[in-house]
């Protein structure tokens, strides 16, 4: 693949993917989003 045509994560994104406080927050957010989706779609 030609890297000119590929979206790549920057340093901030790579850091946040594994940064504990941010990931705890995302864990909560994703769970809420999944529950919303279940409430709507089930």
């Amino acid at each position: 693949m030609d890297n000119k045509n590929i979206m790549r994560p920057n340093k901030r994104t790579l850091f946040l993917r594994y940064f504990l406080p941010w990931q705890i927050y995302r864990f909560i957010v994703i769970n809420i989003k999944m529950l919303r989706m279940m409430a709507r779609g089930h």
């Binding site: 693949m1 890297n3 590929i6 979206m7 790549r8 994560p9 946040l16 993917r17 594994y18 504990l20 990931q23 705890i24 995302r26 864990f27 994703i30 769970n31 989003k33 999944m34 919303r36 989706m37 279940m38 709507r40 779609g41 089930h42």
Partner: protein
């Protein structure tokens, strides 16, 4: 009210869910019988971790007999082979014939009468569709716990050789142009990548992802328009990025034609022929259904009426042949009820889908290379519960319940692991609603962008791990199991 007999064929995600809910809703008003060829329930999504040696088979398997005994469900280990939906001349109560697969009674045939039948027989792993594919050929699979255990063993052997300085090529993906479960192949290739990095041999490996998807991120659902970082972003962009980042080489629109020892021959959507030499290959098989030889009251064979050519059971879907542009969410079944016998239902992989979800594509030679629609995991469990609920209502009130579980309405969450470990693990968390795009309701994207999103991160791994333990707990029928949503 007399006690009704509900027979469930299969104890996978959909069948087990249906049986447990039917018993919960009906209690002593129903005799629930489950017939499954396997003595253990397999939480299949975690087979990915077994396949890289990060879990053992025992972690994803649950013996069924104690669970059913505790919940007052009768369990027979066997494979359903014949269906008599009108019974016999001397006894009009419908029944199925099954062949025992249990030790001590292997091969014995028995009849089980039913008032309601839920067909949840799951997939037949059709390795024969591609010569040389599968554990009896030249590749491994992660479709069952034992397959995944063997995959982990083969992977470890290759890793040991890499540790001695040898370069190796590993191919992961789909073993036929019409496979489904691209999400599982996607997860596995990233878990292999993580395992190679963990063992310090990633630089010795060329990792190839061979898929029947025309573009990465199709996942058999025609791709997903995700709400990411303030943009509506095609899943292709996200998937391309991940493959590039991890240096995994994709071969797209591929239809493996045959495998030989350490070599896969394929054609692709352009009609080009290619071959790849490999040292390790995990290629998923296409699925067929389990065709039950079916007979009416006059003992006439009605199998072709009840089952599709691919051996899936026809239900309340619109099977009229249509062009891709004319496909609609309404084509998809809502109640999973046989159009011919109102007391027969098919859920999970067992029901015949009306068509694919992804755009159908053929190469210049006319070979169909298109993912089959996924209907495993979350949707499959919801179908099982809704069918159990509707049957329970019919038993209680005389009128079949009207709850629906159409893939054109319901959403699904897909947590695709891209590595294990509390600190090293990560996953792509994706939700989509609905599963089948609805371009009338959502003209731009086909799905509700408020409920369709995706992101990569460590939190996804925690969610996947949490779901593993929650669903194992639920499958065991442990106290308050029904509180856990499907």
């Amino acid at each position: 009210m007399s006690v009704v007999d509900i027979v469930v064929l299969g104890a996978g995600v959909s069948g087990h869910t249906a049986a447990m809910y039917a018993k919960r809703y009906l209690g002593k008003d129903a005799n629930i019988t489950v017939i499954s060829p396997e003595e253990k329930y397999n939480w299949i999504p975690s087979n990915i971790w077994v396949g890289v040696g990060q879990m053992q088979a025992a972690d994803v398997l649950i013996p069924l007999a104690p669970v059913y005994q505790k919940n007052h469900v009768t369990f027979y280990q066997g494979r359903a082979i014949e269906l008599y939906p009108e019974g016999r001349l001397n006894n009009s109560k419908p029944f199925v014939v099954y062949e025992s697969t249990g030790t001590g009674s292997l091969g014995e045939k028995k009849e089980i009468h039913y008032d309601f039948l839920i067909n949840a027989t799951g997939p037949k792993l059709n390795f024969a569709a591609t010569p040389g594919l599968g554990p009896d050929g030249f590749s491994v699979s992660v479709c069952t716990a034992s397959h995944a255990t063997e995959a982990a063993h083969q992977l470890e052997l290759v890793i040991q050789e890499m540790k001695q300085g040898k370069n190796k090529t590993l191919v992961v993906g789909t073993g036929h142009g019409t496979c489904t479960c691209e999400g599982a192949a996607f997860e596995y290739v990233f878990n292999v990548d993580t395992e190679l990095r963990r063992q310090g041999v990633r630089d010795k490996a060329e990792l190839i992802y061979m898929t029947n998807e025309a573009e990465l991120g199709d996942f058999g659902v025609d791709g997903i328009q995700l709400d990411v970082g303030g943009f509506i972003t095609p899943s292709k962009i996200m998937a391309d990025s991940l493959f590039f980042e991890k240096n995994i080489k994709p071969i797209l629109g591929a239809h493996p034609e045959r495998l030989e020892k350490n070599k896969v021959f394929y054609t692709d959507l352009s009609g080009k022929k290619g071959e790849v030499d490999f040292d390790f290959a995990m290629l998923l098989p296409p699925f067929k259904g389990h065709r039950l030889k079916s007979f009416n009251l006059q003992s006439e064979d009605i199998t072709d009426k009840l089952f599709s050519p691919a051996d899936f059971m026809r239900v309340d879907a619109d099977y009229t042949a249509k062009e891709y542009a004319d496909w609609k969410p309404e084509d998809w079944p809502r109640h999973y009820q046989s159009p011919y016998y109102k007391n027969v239902f098919a859920v999970g992989i067992a029901f015949a889908p009306p068509h694919q979800i992804s755009r159908p594509r053929k190469n210049p030679e006319g070979v169909l290379i298109t993912p089959a629609p996924p209907r495993t995991g979350m949707p499959s469990a919801i179908m099982g519960r809704v069918v159990a609920e509707n049957i329970a209502q019919q038993v209680k009130t005389g009128t079949l319940g009207i709850k629906t579980a159409s893939m054109g309405d319901m959403g699904a969450a897909c947590i695709a692991s891209i590595g294990t470990g509390f600190t090293r693990g990560a996953a792509v968390s994706i939700t989509m609603c609905p599963i089948v795009p609805d371009y009338q309701k959502y003209p731009d994207t086909g799905r509700d962008t408020k409920l369709t999103f995706g992101e990569v991160g460590r939190s996804g791994h925690w969610i996947k791990k949490m779901l593993h333990y929650l669903f194992i707990y639920k499958a065991k029928g442990s106290p308050f199991w029904w509180v856990i949503p499907e």
